[in-house]
Every structure is written in structure tokens, then in C-alpha cells.
Amino acid sequence: MSALVKSSLARKWVMALSGLFLVIFLTQHFVINITSVISPDTFNEWSHFMGYNPLVQFVAQPILIAGLIVHFAMGIILDFQNRKARPIKYANYAGGTNASWVSRNMIITGLVVLAFLGLHMYDFWVHEMTVKYIDVQPEDPTRYFHELQAKFVSPIRVGIYVVSFILLAMHLWHGFNSSFQSMGAKAINKGDGLRKFTYAWAVLIPAGFIFIALFHHFTHTH
């Protein structure tokens, strides 16, 4: 078992499992966000539940943060080790002819997503913590929709948001199907079914987030 933790294959499993966990989280996040387009009341209700339910706050949220840290830290460690595995670079390397740009640059798309997460945490999470635990304001189950709309007023913010989600889509395009490859799923080599599903998901979910941002940007009432 200790060999499993030290081995390169185990590191792939850690990347794959933490990545899949984040994929599930992203799906759940999307489902809540899309309600803001359909019904502000539902959005407020669900957001309030997520913000005040102790299970979400004190169990799910720490697990999520741990998952994020593991995925990012392991990604950076892997990249560092992989650079060390080729200390002298090629004078001429046609890497673009045998592998896609996204598969070769997961560290770049990953770091952009990490930077975006920093901003996102500052925007929403730090704000939440301030409202709840520092200013200790009374519970207001109707504030979320307005807060959401307010974030999407600035075209610069929306621009950053859109670019980040395009990069996230690129990251997921390789990462989602790659996680099944790392876990040894036979179906992933077949080129149909599972693989097509991962590609569709990698495009549709980030596109959905972008749609939500643009929707609020153009329809906000404040």
C-alpha cells in the first residue's frame, strides 16, 4: 500500500479522483446557478440553503477545499517532476504534431483557473464570511440574487469570467476523459460513449456558466 502512495501511477489516481470530484462539484454549482436565470426565488432559496446548512458549511465545504488543494498541489508537483525528467530540451521539438495543445498545457490552463478561483473566492466566499461571521448580519434569504447580478455589471469582470471559463473548458476537455484513462477504464479507449460524454460535458458546462454571466450582464436591474 505504501508503494501505491509513492508511485507515479498512484499520483495519476490522485489527480483523476480529485479531478472527478471537482467535476461533480462543478455540476452541482451549475445546477444552482442556472436557477438564477429561471427563477430568482429558487436561486435565493437554494443559495441560502447552501450558505446556512451546517452539513454543507462544515462538512461539504472543507472536503471541497481539500479536494481543490490536493488537485492543484499534485498538479504542480507532477509538472515539476516532469520537467526534471527532461533536463536538456530539444533544439527542435514537434510536440504539437502528436498531442493536442490542451493536453500539453494543463499546467497553464490549470493555473489560470486557479487565479480565477482566487478572484472568485474573494468575490463570494470572503464576502459571505464577512456577512456571516464578521459583520454578523441577520439572515436575509433574499439577498443572493441581487448580489449575483451586481457582480456581473462590470464588463471587465464579465470578460475575466468568460476567458476563465473558456480556459476551464480546455482544461476539462483533456482532464475529464484523461481521468478515466488514468483509472484504467476500458471504455475510454473506444472513442465513443464515455469519451464523447466527457467532451460534451467539458464544453457545455463552462458554456452554461458563460451564458449565465452574460445573461445577468445584459439584463441586470441594478
Partner: protein, 248 residues
Amino acid sequence: MKLTLKIWRQANANAKGKMVTYPLDGIDGDMSFLEMMDILNEELITKGEEPVEFDHDCREGICGSCNMMINGKPHGPQKLTTTCQLHMRKFNDGDTITIEPWRAAAFPVIKDLIVDRTAFDRIQQAGGYVSVNTSGNTQDANSIPIEKAKADEAFHSATCIGCGACVAACKNASAMLFTSAKVSQYSLLPQGEVEATTRVQNMVRQMDLEGFGNCTNTGACMIECPKGIKLENITRMNREYLKAETIG
């Protein structure tokens, strides 16, 4: 045809190497890439210079020793082809061709284009075999019936010639395609099942010890492999390794 060659020259393992440019004329499209290298070397020897050292043996695509990074691609531009089987007609008059050794911490340069690939031997020695009782009552391998599909798959994995192009192509210098082909060629067969658990554990451990990079599933290895070894082998090894480490 007339060519400009840019070749990595390095006197020995400890020397600092550099790219050196050589003009070369009179190359025929029907010559193989190695014949072109032979002509260059004859010219260099005539001039009293050191010839370019490169590995080669069979010159028919089966030994896996003629390793060169040609214009940024292992074994050059032609798919499913080793350098010795590559012909100069794939190039044009006036072309500049860069020729470099495999680059990987686990494949140190010995001289010029020759790298030390004994890391592969050690991975193979760690588990790439089946233990057979040779005391005189050895069973005939053909006495165990094997499904055709499985036999074909195992045979295909076994066609890996251990050239190292997969490592050379991989942005991470990972040896997963080679190792997984060598694991698969046994584990797919009943004869290999007996040692399947320790085989995958030992071979993966050795692969990591040699300092190859981590696989990130870019698939470059499969595209550049002269024998068309498939990514399924890596998927299979991932699966077998987890099984070996958890269930045993």
C-alpha cells in the same frame, strides 16, 4: 539532393554538447536515412574528422536501436517507421534537417546521438518474463488454448521493439507506453497471469526509480511509436497496478 544537417555532437557522457551544421550533397531519394548518415560519416572520416556516432543494428525495423530525433519527431516524419526504414524521398532538396538524441534524464547521452537505454533493460528485468521450470518437464506453451483475440492483443503488445521513441516524444519523458506494452504482453496470456501482480508492481517501481516522468495521457507516445503500440496498454497497466496494490 542537397541538404543542411544540424546534428547534436557530444564527445562523451560528461562533455558539453552542441548542435553542429554540416552541408551534404549527392543524396538520393532511394537512400535510407542511415545510408545518408553513412555518407556524411565517410566524408567526415576522409576529412580527418570524428564521424557522428549513432546506434543501429538490424536496419530492418526490428531491433529498435536506430534512435534519432529528426526534425523534432522520433524516427522522423513517417508514421509507423523506424529511422532505418525511413527514406530520403521523404525530404526535399534544400531541406535543413535537425538530428538530436533522445532527451530524457533516464536516457543519458553516451556520445553524439547514442543514448544509454539500459533503463529499459532494468524495467524488463524487474518483471518482464514468465518463470518456467526448465528441469526437463517443461510444458509445451501451445498446450494451453488461448482465445484468438487475446493472443492477437498480446502479440501486438509484444511487437514493441524497446526503441524509446515513446519516451522521446512524450513531453514528460514518461516510459508508460513501453512498460505497459511489456506488462500487457504477458498479463493477457494465461502463462503470464501467475505472476501478474508482482510483475506490474515491480516493473512500475523500476520505471519510477529510473527517473522517467509521470504520464499525463497526452497520447504522443502512441502517435510516434514505430510499432503502433496502443494507449490501451497504459489503461490496462493503470488498472492492473491498482488491482495489484489493493486487492493483490
